[in-house]
Homo-oligomer: 308 residues x 2
């Protein structure tokens, strides 16, 4: 089934304890679409870049079955740019530069050819922009997933609450879930968030895995214990892309299938962190992905019905 | 099979955001033995208490199949006492009082009736004391498990290294594993620790579950996402007690069975935190334990062989 992603297509500059990049390709929309492209060839993206964005990257996205008709190119302007530096534990980072550039006045145009899309993934953007995309789709997609971040909780709370009501699943990290609800317990936070609108929720816990919540249900997917996390940038978006891509591929939004989608997303994210930026997830084979699915299975596999 | 636990039998005073206790029964040995008592009735304990320790608690341990012949009672002295206060997130705590008392000069006497024991659990104590117990057993137990803490890494590193060489599995938390190896990655830390002697290792991650490592193998057990953690005191010891108790019950130390033992330990620990001190784990039914085993299964259950 078809998938539309809305999200930034951008430049990043990244510094980790392992090294440093110059300006490389980044952006939530890029990571999501690349990750999802392993699962569906019927993909579209809504975004905006400046005249400085390389045509070959756009061509590359296209070659992966991603329609780029919805990527506006603002000739005289510059692409969104983020620079960050990770601390030694790789779990926290400092933002060094944020240049909004073309994102500052981003008006998401939805091309006619995008109408009737089945799945919608709202990457992390201003909640008002995310909502605009939902409104500009003449028929509501079968399934809408949404990412957000604490920044929007701080400066656009009301907008966030409006948008959140309209989606089927929210995908955020543990810190964001706690800030959103003022609850430390993720089980309690999940209950509160699901009262805000979405019937489902994913809480990403980075190296500690991810929790999927549904009505009266909870599922936990572990993270692989990796020896080396080279660069965590984009791991959350790559997770979201694998998740929504798998749902679009299978067209099945049951809780059972969402569990599989969480495993698919976790596998994609586990590859993402192996190299800088999008490098690893641009060059995966189907075998590699399925091999990792087996590693996840082995990691948690045990047989016991009762212990006493 | 028979199980010998060495560990403190003590008093605790605990303060959490939910309330405060007076002096209640605590101690690593107590938690381990109580937890293991659901799995085996052939249990022994080596410890020391003062004349102030209640006889009814010792009688209660005895009624659970735990031989208390190895608990020395120092009439004119006082029992080990620890007081602590948990922070709001329940993941960190301040120690308010540590009175070593009888533990200061603890010479672990192993009664003759304890000889020939099959399983040995070394609760968190000075590594030299732990080693003394191994040396005082005329035949080496089939399987030796050991807990320790960062305190001993700081003040008794050489002793710790001597003792660690002699055990089959080390059971520590993530912070301790990192301190012991100076590695942030738990996968790397695990490799280094297993080079120190033990062929197996468990790294407890609290609310994030536990990892079991063996030669070329890794297993991850999740923690249940609990709405309320009432008091985390003793959860790690309760985990260890469930783990070693299950191994002693089954007499099987294969990696596959250790996985089940980790799940058993996790189930016990998840009950421990529901009430202050040992209250909850003193009053469990077999049904409750097996119900939780099912909850663990449901939490991580999914079916997928490949995603692409």
């Amino acid at each position: 089934m078809s998938l539309l992603t809305v999200g930034s297509v951008a430049f990043d500059a990244i510094e980790t304890p392992f090294g440093k990049t110059t300006k490389i390709i980044g952006g939530a929309g890029t990571y999501i679409a690349l990750s999802a492209s392993y699962f569906t060839r019927d993909q579209k993206i809504v975004s905006v870049v400046g005249g400085d964005f390389p045509q070959e990257t756009l061509d590359d996205l296209k070659s992966r079955g991603i329609s780029i008709e919805g990527i506006q190119i603002k000739k005289g302007e510059k692409t969104f740019f983020w620079a960050g530096k990770y601390h030694n534990d790789m779990n926290s980072r400092d933002t060094l530069v944020t240049e909004l550039n073309v994102l500052e006045k981003f008006d998401p145009v939805v091309p006619d050819s995008y109408q009737g899309v089945d799945f919608l993934m709202l990457g992390n953007l201003a909640p008002a922009v995310q909502r605009l995309v939902i409104e500009r789709l003449k028929t509501r997609p079968r399934f809408i997933a949404m990412d957000t971040m604490n920044f929007w909780m701080d400066i656009a709370w009301n907008d966030l609450m409006e948008t959140i009501k309209l989606v089927d699943i929210l995908i955020i990290n543990d810190e964001e879930a706690r800030q959103m609800t003022k609850e430390y317990s993720l089980a309690k936070a999940a209950k509160k968030i699901m009262e805000l609108g979405p019937k489902h929720l994913i809480i990403k816990k980075g190296e500690h895995g991810a929790l999927l919540f549904g009505p009266g249900k909870v599922f936990f997917a572990p993270a692989l214990p990796l020896e080396e996390v080279f660069d965590p940038t984009g791991a959350g978006d790559t997770f979201a892309g694998g998740f929504i891509g798998y749902l679009a591929k299978t067209g099945d939004t049951s809780f059972e299938n969402m569990k599989r989608a969480v495993i698919a997303g976790s596998a994609m994210a586990s590859y993402c962190v192996e190299k800088f930026g999008t490098e690893r997830i641009m060059n995966l084979t189907e075998d590699e992905i399925n091999t990792r699915i087996k590693q996840f299975r082995n990691l948690i596999d045990y047989e016991v019905e009762q212990v006493i």
